[in-house]
């Protein structure tokens, strides 16, 4: 698996898109810090971008890589390597190279502007951790979709729809149901609904460290007590981990029956 991982990363790191992605984050980081040298504010703006963009890029990269390397995968399948290792290698390759782009692209400008002297280093680290989680989650989801869909146009369509659903539509439904069931206690519902969407969960995790923690008191004690504590933080991280683990598990399951 490590060999496949090595070659996938090698392959991706030399593709144009990885650089575009890396340079995008690099420019973003520099521009944000250049426009307002307050690292805290830059972290908030970055969060807005990261929770929308990382899932989108992860989804697109995942699907694209799967379909583009299909024939190569077939060549690998004829080699004496276990199936799951081939795909795990590829999956990790994409997720890691995206994470690397994110980490370096944002890390360099931040280090440049004195991140280590700033208290924002924890917020920044959290941002990177959550961004990495989102990369791993959405590449895994994209791989699942691609594995289940032979037609690449359809596959792309489903993947984008999946992103659109989690990034926008889900929140729309969430908000409408909150408004509709206004009279009922909604704390637990909100909490659970947040857990079921990795984008929402990541957003809340970051916001709690930034500016929402006290505001959340308005939404009821359950929410605040949960997210405001270390326990809640650990549980949230664990759920994010599940969001990686379950799609990967399904991938393995799907691979056992998949024909190429």
């Amino acid at each position: 698996m490590l060999k496949i991982l090595k070659y996938s990363i090698f392959d991706l790191l030399r593709s144009r898109w990885s650089y575009v992605y890396f340079i995008f984050y690099l420019l973003l980081g520099f521009v944000l810090l250049f426009l307002n040298s307050d690292i805290n504010k830059a972290v908030i703006t970055l969060m807005n971008i990261i929770i929308v963009l990382t899932p989108l890029i992860g989804t697109i990269f995942g699907v694209m890589y799967y379909y583009n390397s299909k024939e190569f995968t077939e060549l690998l399948l004829a080699q004496p390597i276990k199936r799951s290792k081939i795909f795990m290698g590829q999956y990790l390759g994409i997720a890691l190279s995206l994470t690397l782009s994110l980490f370096l692209g944002l890390g360099i400008p931040f280090v440049f502007y004195g991140l280590f002297k700033s208290a924002a280093i924890f917020d920044f680290s959290l941002l990177i951790v959550v961004g990495s989680f989102l990369n791993f989650i959405f590449v895994a989801l994209a791989y699942n979709i691609a594995l289940s869909t032979e037609n690449r146009i359809k596959g792309f369509g489903y993947a984008i729809l999946m992103w659109l659903f989690l990034a926008v539509i889900y929140d729309g439904i969430f908000m409408i149901s909150l408004i509709m069931f206004n009279e009922y206690p909604l704390d637990k519902f909100s909490l659970i609904a947040t857990m079921f969407n990795p984008i929402d969960l990541s957003r809340i995790l970051i916001l709690l460290k930034l500016d929402i923690s006290a505001l959340l008191g308005y939404t009821g004690a359950v929410f605040k007590d949960f997210f405001g504590t270390n326990f809640g933080f650990i549980i949230s991280m664990f759920i994010l981990f599940l969001w990686v683990f379950l799609p990967v598990l399904r991938m393995k399951f799907k691979l056992k029956k998949k024909d190429f």
Partner: protein, 447 residues
Amino acid sequence: MSYQCSVFSIQCSAFSYQFVIPTVLKFSRERTTRNFLLLFFSFLFSTTFSQTKTINVCATCDVKTIKNAIKIAKDNDTIFVKKGIYKEHKINVNKAIHIIGEDYPILDGENKTESIFAIKAANFSISGFHFKNVGMSYTKEIAAIFISKSNNFVIKDNKMDHVFYGFILQRTKYGLLQNNKILGESKTEATSGNGIHLWKCENMRIEKNLVSGMRDGIYLEFVTDSHVSHNTSIKNVRYGLHFMFSHKNEYHHNEFKRNGAGVAVMFSKFIKMHHNTFHYNWGTASYGLLLKEINDAEITDNVFEQNTIGINIDGCNRITYKNNHFIRNGWALKFTGGCYTNLFEYNNFMHNAFDLSYNSRLNDNKFEANYWSEYNGYDIDKNGIGDVAHRPVKLFSYVVNKTPETLVLLRSLFVDIINFSEKVSPVFTPDNLKDEKPLMKPINPLE
């Protein structure tokens, strides 16, 4: 300074044999304001030019307790209390005397349910003491210094800790509380008292005090024509400053930080609030400043930073808000009742989660020439004023008002989208609530 001294030297020569002198000299060095001089002129006229004496109190002195010293003192005498521990309480002061502690002698109330000083007098002063251990009571009002029906006094440079109330002042006039430090360790509202508590007072000055860890830092009820300035009120369980039914007061250059609920100003008229800093009042029901039923006030040059709510405005009319900075609050302004004829101009609204939230009609209020960090219009004619109006109320803030639980969706892409669409064609938010002349650059940026 030399000019001031020469003015004072006239006083000084006239008063050289008076006990007020050490106090006076100290004040003259501190560039006191005109009003303050007036206070001393009142001393001048109220005291006679008779011979006065000094009484020393210490463990080895002739007079060993403050109570005894007061007993033998006459009007205008000065009592010097040397360093040491004095386990006294219920010290009644009913004469125009000056009690001065040297090197902070400790007045230990031994947690008895009595005030240490209980004062009813005029033309007196107390300074330089360290008050400790004033017991708690649910039925009695007990303070380190309890003053009633008094006027023309100065209480300054005292330290207090483990006191139930720091000061309780009732029906007093022309008093000065200056440079006192009241440090409590209160946990709950029910078991704690206020730092400085004034009831039915007039023409009071509360300056440069530090109050922390009490219930309310400074509490004023039925207090008029008074000044509260340069105080620091932090980490109090309830309010940093609490104003009730207190008209024509002014408070300025105070700092209110990390208080349970912030600062509350209620049911008062003609109040001036300026150059105060309200920050880090960050909790579930916290705000920088709560205004309830306030009319004809001026709120200028204040800084509201990182409060859950910058100003919570409930039923307030004819208030001018000018040159205030609202920075990184949850809500910069939250209107919770009918508010009419308020004017907001030249304020900075920067990086708040919500700049404005309201739940009733707001159309009689005017927002003009403020700086909004959220504003993304343009300024083609380069006159510093944006060419398109800014709408400070977002659709999401309207939704959150109706259903607070939706706050969990803050900063999500969906919310950005609905805010944007509402901005393009307003349906829910009032069409006329807008700043027609949004500034392109912040006013007087803070360093």
